[in-house]
Point group: C2
Chain length 435, copies 2
């Protein structure tokens, strides 16, 4: 490599423009840090005439087809910011690797679906496959797992990885508003997409978790193994109940390495107030890794947005400029272990259960008996009077916190409680994590 690193940017949306912003602002500083100049040599984007802020791109090599940019002899590094796990993003990344170019991508879907194959190809060619921006935006989660914690075998990695969900849950709690109401506001503010299902359904978190799991545990990426539950069913009443009991509700992605197998899940979770993770609110993200030597490490910051995400891309660029080329998932892709699912286990930390109880004698006794029959022991109970006494089918609210129990046992008990007609509607069940 010469003393200029030539980059090509495929996809000039907000993050791509953010990269141009940083290079324009800090070009000299980055050259000192990188040991060479970093120069944008080519771009690929659909719309050549669209305004990209103050940036004059007229003198750059311009491609309509990102694959052509990937193959261009004018670039040393392809930065893929197109998105999607198939189509032009995948083709461009594959073409760049095949022609011996380093690749930087912010594309979590591509990595969650094809990460191992791409890592093998990149390693065979001796080029980098860097993706700091794909998980948790500006937080250096990838570098920390890939480089910072090399002395550790990780036992657990989890976190708040979706700013949209965290914003919605925070607002619901702070302002006492329902899910649909806050979602609408988030959409108006640009924090949520017109079709929010990828975010609020937990799928975005799952893609990111799949990548972190592989890095943390040295196993092949396995998106399909993740149990996914979104935040759509989190009721304002649950957030209020949780607050009274000293908890917040967060959408967590959690991966645990039990040695015998791995568990990956995404779901709303009660966590105790007063910890760095529980106090990560609004659009912020937090990633926690438990290493066997370092203990718990928490990283908290902006998980999205043009500039935080571009900051992560710059970290990847300078790594390449400095010759810091690591295996994509920490160990060579050929050495990644096969993914082995853990058998169902007792949930660590118990469950929050909210039941709308028909206010008639014997219901509590019946429920307690069913729980005991299923060997579920209760840590605390809160019963409230009718929420609205004038309502025609008024019910009392009955909140349980269980001790650690098997999820299957809890499900069986809830089925029986619902069938026996003691409750109105379905039980609302949320896992509690203790860290």
């Amino acid at each position: 490599m010469t003393n200029t690193l030539r980059i090509g940017i495929a996809g000039l949306g907000t993050v791509g423009t953010g990269v141009l912003d940083i290079l324009a602002e800090h070009g000299d500083l980055i050259a000192l840090r990188a040991g060479k100049a970093v120069k944008v040599s080519g771009v690929a984007a659909r719309n050549r005439t669209k305004s990209r802020g103050k940036h004059d791109l007229s003198k750059l090599e311009w491609h309509d087809d990102p694959v052509a940019l990937a193959k261009s002899s004018s670039i040393d590094v392809l930065i893929e910011l197109i998105g999607g796990d198939t189509g032009p993003a995948k083709l461009a990344v594959e073409a760049a690797i095949a022609s011996g170019k380093h690749v930087i991508t912010a594309n979590k879907a591509l990595l969650a679906h094809h990460g191992v194959a791409l890592a093998r190809a990149a390693e065979a060619k001796g080029v980098a496959l860097n993706f700091e921006a794909a998980v948790a935006g500006g937080i250096p989660a990838i570098k920390t797992l890939r480089e910072g914690l090399v002395g550790n075998s990780a036992k657990r990695v989890f976190g708040i990885m979706n700013g949209t969900c965290n914003y919605i849950l925070t607002k619901m709690g702070d302002e006492g508003r329902g899910f649909a109401d806050v979602l609408k506001e988030a959409q108006e503010l640009g924090y949520a997409e017109a079709d929010p299902s990828f975010d609020v359904g937990g799928f975005d978190t799952a893609h990111k978790l799949a990548v972190l799991t592989s890095l943390a545990f040295g196993t092949e990426v396995n998106l399909a193994a993740i149990k996914i539950e979104g935040i759509e069913k989190v009721a304002l009443a649950d957030i209020r109940n949780a607050a009274e009991l000293g908890y917040k509700i967060k959408l967590l992605g959690v991966a645990v390495n039990y040695g015998s197998g791995i568990e990956q899940r995404v779901h709303p979770t009660l966590i105790k107030r007063g910890s760095p993770v529980s106090e990560t609110d609004d659009v912020f993200n937090a990633i926690v890794v438990k290493g066997d030597f370092v203990g718990d490490l928490v990283l908290e910051g902006r998980g999205a947005g043009a500039h935080p995400t571009a900051s992560a891309v710059l970290s990847d660029i300078v790594d390449i400029a400095r010759g810091n080329i690591r295996p994509a998932f920490g160990v060579p892709a050929t050495e990644l272990k096969k993914y082995k699912d853990s058998s169902p286990r007792a949930h660590e930390g118990g469950f929050y259960v909210a039941l709308d109880l028909h206010d008639k004698p014997g219901a509590v006794a019946a429920i307690a008996t069913i729980l005991a029959d299923n060997k579920i022991s209760i840590e605390s109970i809160v019963q409230r009077g009718k929420a609205d006494p004038s309502a025609p089918r008024a019910t009392a609210q009955f909140i349980l916190i269980t001790h650690d129990t098997l999820e299957a046992s809890l499900k069986k008990a809830m089925d029986k409680i619902e069938k026996d007609g003691h409750v109105a509607g379905k039980a609302r069940v949320i896992r509690i994590e203790r860290f």
Copy 2:
């Protein structure tokens, strides 16, 4: 370099033994991550017969003099774990650099005093000067500043960097015990030294802050410029008052880059509850960086202890094995800017002031007038009755929270209040930081 990286460890105390523990436990995994085997080839320690856990060191090259180890042709990397800013630690590091060896050190004092000179020497020789373990133990603060945030100009770096102080302040608050009492317990538990002044006086934090400041702002290290205040004078009453007002008291190291100059200070600080930093309790550390593109980034974890610190050393080792050699302070040491001190500024966030008021008419009016005369505006006031009405010189407690003001103005007002005889003893003043 061959496909084995040969390390020499100077100083086999708890951290050195921790490094041996990790290599024994994860040798194969580290070889995959490093791309080569990592092997301890030599050691230097005073006591050869002392037990080092399960480790058999009898076949290693053994030196009484760390300088001899540093010069030995059997090693590629010297790991300096002796400590101290002069004497054998400095001599060994200098000798290693002079003979073309990479250096890893956990020695914050050495870096705070001689960091720039050592960095220049290392860069002239093309060897690494790595020190992840010198600041915040297992938290990858150095890697994050040096590599993760290369796309940013930092505006502020601060944090909780001393586990002893954080443990003491946390216990005082949680258990309602005084400083001396908790300090004694911390000493018995091994969380505080027999002579605790380096920790509780804020000097340890200052050494770490000096290193972070240089990395964050690209300026020469300047330990002498730091204003240092320890936690010895933090009263239990202040912690209680702060809690009632929604704050915790933490010992923070704070560096701010105003563009026109830099401010570095170490002191007890009131910070609002409910943030990731305020909820960093017990022996845990937290480092916060505000970058111009990434925004606020918080790293929280174990700031001390054999294994977390050894985990940081392993990160440095693997960086060297992978050829990831960066300038010690992010940019070449010859390019570090001269340190320029900021002129005294209005403190961002105001002050907490606790006064023991003689309970006689007119005192409050007199104090309010003096504050107004000094242009200090008050955000909130809490007055309490006599703490102990039976005491012969009973006083009322008078707590002020000021708006942002110049520290010099506050000092002037307090001098006047004390001189005018309205208060018993001295005013207790603690800065409030808002982030």
